[in-house]
Symmetry: C2
Subunit: 258 residues, 2 copies
């Protein structure tokens, strides 16, 4: 019945996971005052142990020992209220950490996307990338970083590499039929393949996004007419961007028009 477990300093310190010195300190500042045996040894009971738990919670929440003293002595009678406020503080802390995690993941996505941009543009002429980027930014009034972050941030390096290879293979195939008319079946098959590639990426970036007629038409026009873009893709073939643009346009007109 008389459940009065008592603890020595070292026992309580092990129980609560704090150092003996800490208990000495709390005694000194009057935060947790144990009984004393005749020989001067400190003696803690169950109530002390409970109070210590509370102290530790508040301490972990970055309250000063002075504040903790006030809080605990103030709510000494109203235990339930004290516990409630502690729980609320812990909830707040949870949410705060969640925000930190979220912001961290945004940063991670941004870094990953930059890496992926490097992967995707690997082997392509460095100095022309900047011009191409500027063109895209001017034409569509979008930050290049914004685009790539949305489009590439969600992929791992491996996936990015796979995409790069898929793109290269496509380019190779396209160059092989680049002399054929855009209406030809071979070219249109490739146009569809390209359309599917892009759609896949876009839908991965944002759920339910469709590459519709208008967007495709704009893109085709850009490909067919923008100089920096032509320059950039001349790496594959002199006429690459122009022909791809035309292929896209025909594909959009015949297959995407609603």
């Amino acid at each position: 019945m008389d459940n009065e477990r008592i603890y020595s300093v070292s026992e309580l310190s092990r129980l609560a996971g704090v150092s003996v010195r800490t208990l000495h300190h709390y005694d000194q500042v009057g935060l947790l005052k144990p009984w004393r045996k005749e020989n001067g040894y400190r003696e803690y009971d169950r109530k002390h142990a409970v109070r210590l738990q509370q102290i530790i919670i508040y301490r972990d929440l970055d309250f000063s020992l002075e504040e903790i003293t006030r809080l605990l002595d103030l709510d000494a009678d109203n235990q339930a209220k004290a516990l409630n406020s502690q729980r609320d503080l812990l909830w707040q802390r949870q949410k705060q950490i969640q925000r930190m995690i979220d912001s961290l993941e945004v940063t991670m996505k941004s870094i990953q996307s930059k890496q992926n941009v490097d992967i995707m543009f690997e082997g392509l002429p460095k100095e022309k990338i900047a011009d191409y980027e500027k063109s895209v930014r001017d034409r569509f009034d979008l930050s290049f970083e914004g685009i790539t972050e949305d489009l590439l941030g969600g992929f791992s390096s491996e996936e990015a590499r796979a995409l790069k290879e898929e793109g290269d293979r496509f380019a190779e195939d396209f160059v092989n039929v680049i002399h054929l008319p855009v209406e030809s079946e071979q070219v249109q098959r490739l146009a569809e393949r390209h359309h599917d590639m892009i759609s896949k990426m876009a839908s991965f970036a944002e759920e339910g996004v469709e590459l519709d007629y208008d967007t495709a038409l704009k893109a085709s026009h850009f490909l067919a007419n923008d100089e920096a873009t032509q320059e950039f893709y001349s790496f594959y073939h002199d006429d690459y961007a122009r022909r791809l643009g035309e292929a896209w346009r025909y594909f959009a007109e015949t297959r995407l028009k609603s």
Copy 2:
């Protein structure tokens, strides 16, 4: 293109939510070293801002500045890895706080249940409660606190008061028919009412718990025969516990037998 936003001490301090002195300090210990203008003023760029964010995360996770220096310089190349480990640490912290919340809620339940016990036994003879409690503990090999915690911990003080009143009203009604035979319709109607009361409480404490035949029979036997219990309930009527036990037994035999 040259996105090089630069910050003064005060600007960066506001941006990151730290004091100017803190930035001075980080400069001093070599954790975050800004550029210097000719006049000696500190100058921070975007990279500094990013590094500061990382510092703050680690600091909030209680790393020492020295450890943070090591961590950041060690993973300076491998940014992605650093961010990953930070996220993992934040997750761990989340879980730790969750454990604290859980343990806190257990404590809250225990306190609430003790308050509710006081409410439920209010007005009943204090000194007989202990005997009754001992009897229950001996007979059922259960800690009284365990029972009440499971049964009453989930109720608020208001709900406990309502339960107490319901119980008192029942006792009054039962005393009014206590002279009638246990088989009588009036008594059996009350037995059912009592059974429903208890069931409701039990099912509230633990989802899907049913007060079955065996349990009811044991309880009825206890009520009808245990002396401390008789004593305790004699507050209502000398024969209260015995008659209630018999009413329960009949009810169990006629209505609960599977």
